[in-house]
Amino acid sequence: MEWAWIAAAAPLAAFPLVALRGKWLPGRGAYISIAAIGLSFVLFWLVGADFLRRQADHFSITWFNSGGTRLALGMIIDPLSVYMLGIVSVVALGVQVYSLKYMEHEPRFSWYFAVQSLFAASMLGLVLSDNFLLLYVTWELVGLCSYLLIGFWFEKRSAAEAAKKAFVTTRIGDVGLLIGILVLFKATGSFDIGTVIQAAESGQISSGTLTVAALLLFAGAMGKSAQFPLHVWLPDAMEGPTPVSALIHAATMVVAGVYLVARAFPIFEAAPGALEVVGWLGLLTALLTATMALVMTNLKQVLAYSTISHLGFMMLALGSIGFTGGMYHLMTHAFAKALLFLGAGSIAHGTGLTDIKDMGGLWRKMPLTSTLFILGALSLAGVPPLGGFFSKDEVLAAVYHNQGPVVLGLTLVLALLSALYMARLVFVVFFGPDRSRESGVHAHESPWQMVVPLVALAYLAVTSGAAAFYLPGTGEGLGQFLFWEEGEAFHPLWWLIIASMVIVAAGFVIAWGIYQRGWRVARALEPVARLARRKYYMDDLYQWTIDRVVLVFAGMVALFDRTVVNDGGVNGSGGIVARVGKRLRYHETGRVYNYGLVMAGAIVVLGLMVTLLR
């Protein structure tokens, strides 16, 4: 297990190699990159197998010392990190293989794969890191890679803007994360996550500090995991190449936040107030963005909002002490969402369309892609027996056990909404009439390099439900695996399961009614829909804040600097000297005896001072 670090190091090593020497490498560097992430994937199996025979463990090397504080690079091998290692490496591998064909005509092909490698490396490093310092380092690198990849087509103004928005928004959250880490360091004197958790559990840290720290950590998670009100960057992130969106939305970047909360879960548990905030914010985010997903018409945008909604759902799960449910949902969502995005990429690749208003009847033209896409959508909607269904129920159970009826009710509404928007996608895109004049002409299936990852992901999306009961190699369910010490079996609540199935079915029926039969429900909800379509004016509010508050304030500071500090302080003091000099120079009469008189007077005065004061 000591070599688990190679899982992160291999793609990291591939980055400079491919970035600098990509042109001369096999497959313009892509093969190197894929080999590296493949190695990580293999290592996941080796580490996993090895892990099952041993205890959780962590290893570290000193990065550098400062003032007696050891700043270390270390990794932790425990159920959570092994689990995440698997999800990240498999999705990254799939995305990279898919990109091979999807991106082949790009002039910056090597660069793309180089950054993909770095992205994977950072995310793997993030999930493996055993201390907050390395976690923050990789956390930021993940942000960087998303910046580079979203802005991959930087010649496009919108892509450049989206990249900037993603980086800045997550950076705002990172301020919180960094402060939180430092608060914890101040309280415990250590960056080591295990040490901090121990201190938190043993009550060494005052509960006030702990709550503040937990909330600050959560602020970081809000940024990365696009929780309200820092969710605005994620929908724009679709400006990047579609496989990038798949990677960001599924296995890297956005799940980092959820992972962080999970990793620091004992800290949150010790600060119940913070946990409550996590739950409520998650729920709020999920509901808000679910409504937005309902009204957006760009395929990738709908998927993006659904991602946020599901992330909120995961946060809700964690906030309801549903650790297993949250992490389980993370996995099923990752597979399904990667599948959906890659599928959307295939659709765009095959038809050149991105807006669902132009699509329709694709089922007939791209049956394979459609089938796979629909599988992903059903999984996310929570249709049994796909993965999403089980994880959703696990979350619902946690909510039921640990939250009040209001939250449970809202969660069920959320389940309805999420079934509704997925059903809407399915009905509008794949069924019904062809709404575009040209798409029918050249719609075609994607080449096999793109289909293989889709199939693999679909397989995972479908079968991941089984993990609840049986995880290969462990002989037990996911819950017991994740909770290494105190196993937690999958314990279904039958009435809840039936209720959720009914809700999903209702969602599909309603969607069928509205989008296939033309029910006039939407008309009544038009004001709300308009609000949702304008993204609840959140983007406008932020834009306004930046333009009218931040920039104006910056302008005022600069003006202050120029006028008060510079013109007033610096030039002013110079001016005073000049003015005084201008006055004083008339005292230079040029007559020697005037000077002499002053000298004489001064000598007399000095002499008097010396004699009298002696």
């Binding site: 010392n65 380092v137 302080g569």
Partner: protein, 489 residues
């Protein structure tokens, strides 16, 4: 070895004086040779510094003015060794960048190397008289370098001529030096050991009252050169007016002289004074960080953005020093190094763009990355360093400063971290505006950096990445130096 390091640039300047001004090739080879020699020497000095041993090493001492207790005493400790290396790197790349310096290349290099000598001297002097002497030697050539070879900016309502920049810089810095000099003399008298030698003064010690009285002289005097708010305006104006290589050395190294002096003279000789004044310094440092970042956001001139970002980043150095904790000061010293390399890179790149486009107005640029891929890539790296991205040198430094500040003044730490976020905003806005987006057809013909320029920038980028990935390379020395220093606090 250290005296060679300090004297070679002056000797080269002397040789250049003798060189006929028409012989460009000889001039350049001499300058480049000197740059390489200095880089090698600086590297040697740094590598031969044994951080396990600690203390002052490579010490040289020649008697000079016994009656006043002045001797030519040189040596490096863990704090100055990395800064010597920094100056070696910046000097070397600065020479490469100013390869085609016009007009009067000979005079330019004469002054440039004089400046370099002053900077090296300040870092290695262990005698306060010579420390001050070299400090002045480093400041004064700036006046001519900016006034003669600089460039003016004209934004209609906002005009700054190079003469104004040069004058302001020199006057403000000299005003600072006056404070320093008064402080030094007062310290010389008060310590009562009749010596300007740093080690003697360290051993002498002064009463608490005297230390508290004297510390502000150094805090303000050296602080001015470090860009301490509100005495910072010379710095953006000076940087903007200066020619590329001078901006590099100036923002890269010269501003560090201030912080270095504050640490070496102020904090280490007047620990009680430092304790008394640290709250003031750290508040001003925080103002530097946030205020500099806000100002940078509002700038339209590419160089002004970088100039104000320097003000902001030097704020971290001041904050780190003001924590008076080992971690914080470690971070401050590392930030000096990191910021030096980063700003040098920034100014080199801005110079490359300016040389080709002849404007620096951010609003007229768009999509340069398409034509100037290499320049843009380097610029992005510089920008990312500036906003504290892990894996690049700035992060480790800022992180340590934050750790230090959190141990002493958590609220200010929060503000500083917010300042870092503001940095991200303006840097990313700048990158997005200037380099990304569709290419403005006006810049269709803009050539990318030449291999020579690219090499210089690559050296700096490599340093940034190397230090960012392996900060232990510098931290071992810095930590040993700072720890030795902190025992006096």
């Amino acid at each position: 070895m250290l005296s060679v390091l300090v004297l070679v640039p002056v000797l080269v300047a002397g040789l250049l004086v003798a060189l006929p001004s028409g012989r460009l090739r000889a001039l350049r080879s001499l300058a480049l040779g000197a740059g390489i020699v200095e880089l090698a020497l600086a590297l040697y000095v740094f590598l031969s510094y044994d951080s396990n041993l600690g203390g002052y090493q490579l010490v040289e001492r020649y008697r000079w003015l016994d009656s006043l207790g002045v001797s030519f005493h040189l040596g490096v400790d863990g704090v100055s060794a990395p800064l010597v290396l920094l100056n070696g790197i910046v000097l070397f790349t600065g020479v490469i960048i100013s390869w085609h310096m016009k007009p009067r290349p000979k005079d330019f290099f004469i002054l440039f190397f004089t400046l370099a000598s002053g900077v090296f001297g300040t870092f290695v002097a262990l005698d306060l008289f010579f420390l001050f002497f070299f400090y002045e030697l480093a400041v004064l050539p700036m006046y001519l370098l900016i006034g003669v070879w600089g460039s003016s900016s004209d934004f209609g309502t906002f005009i700054r001529t190079k003469e104004y920049g040069a004058l302001k810089l020199t006057l403000v810095l000299v005003a600072g030096s006056v404070l320093v000099w008064v402080g030094l003399l007062a310290m010389y008298v008060e310590a009562g050991v009749g010596s300007f030698d740093l080690l003697d003064l360290e051993a002498a010690g002064m009463s608490v009252g005297v230390q508290r009285f004297l510390f502000p002289f150094f805090m303000l005097g050296f602080g001015v050169l470090a860009g301490l708010w509100p005495f910072h305006t010379w710095s953006p104006d000076g940087h903007v007016a200066a020619p590329t290589a001078v901006s590099m050395v100036h923002a890269g190294v010269l501003m560090k002289l201030g912080a270095y002096g504050l640490l070496r003279v102020g904090i280490s000789l007047l620990p009680e004074g430092a304790h008394a004044w640290a709250p003031v310094l750290i508040v001003l440092g925080t103002v530097n960080v946030v205020y500099g970042a806000m100002s940078a956001m509002a700038q339209k001139d590419l160089k002004y953005v970088v100039g104000y970002s320097s003000v902001s980043h030097m704020g971290y150095v001041l904050m780190g020093l003001a924590t008076l904790t080992v971690v914080g000061m470690d971070g401050a010293v590392l930030q000096m190094f990191s910021h030096g390399i980063m700003t040098a890179l920034f100014f080199a790149l801005v110079g490359i763009v300016y040389e080709r486009a002849h404007v620096r107005d951010i609003t007229v640029f768009e999509g340069l990355a398409k034509r100037m891929g290499l320049t843009s890539a380097f610029f992005v790296v510089a920008g990312l360093t500036s906003l504290g991205l892990p894996g690049l040198s700035g992060f480790v430094a800022e992180f340590l400063v934050f750790v230090g500040v959190f141990q002493t003044y958590p609220v200010l730490g929060v503000l500083a971290i917010i300042g870092a976020a503001i940095t991200a905003v303006y840097i990313l806005r700048l990158l997005g505006k200037v380099f990304f987006g569709p290419l403005n057809p006006k810049w269709e013909k803009l050539p990318d950096a030449t291999p020579r320029e690219g090499f210089a920038a690559a050296v700096l980028v490599a340093t940034i990445v190397f230090v960012g990935v392996n900060p232990g390379f510098l931290m071992r020395a810095i930590d040993s130096g700072v720890q030795a220093l902190a025992t006096r606090l």
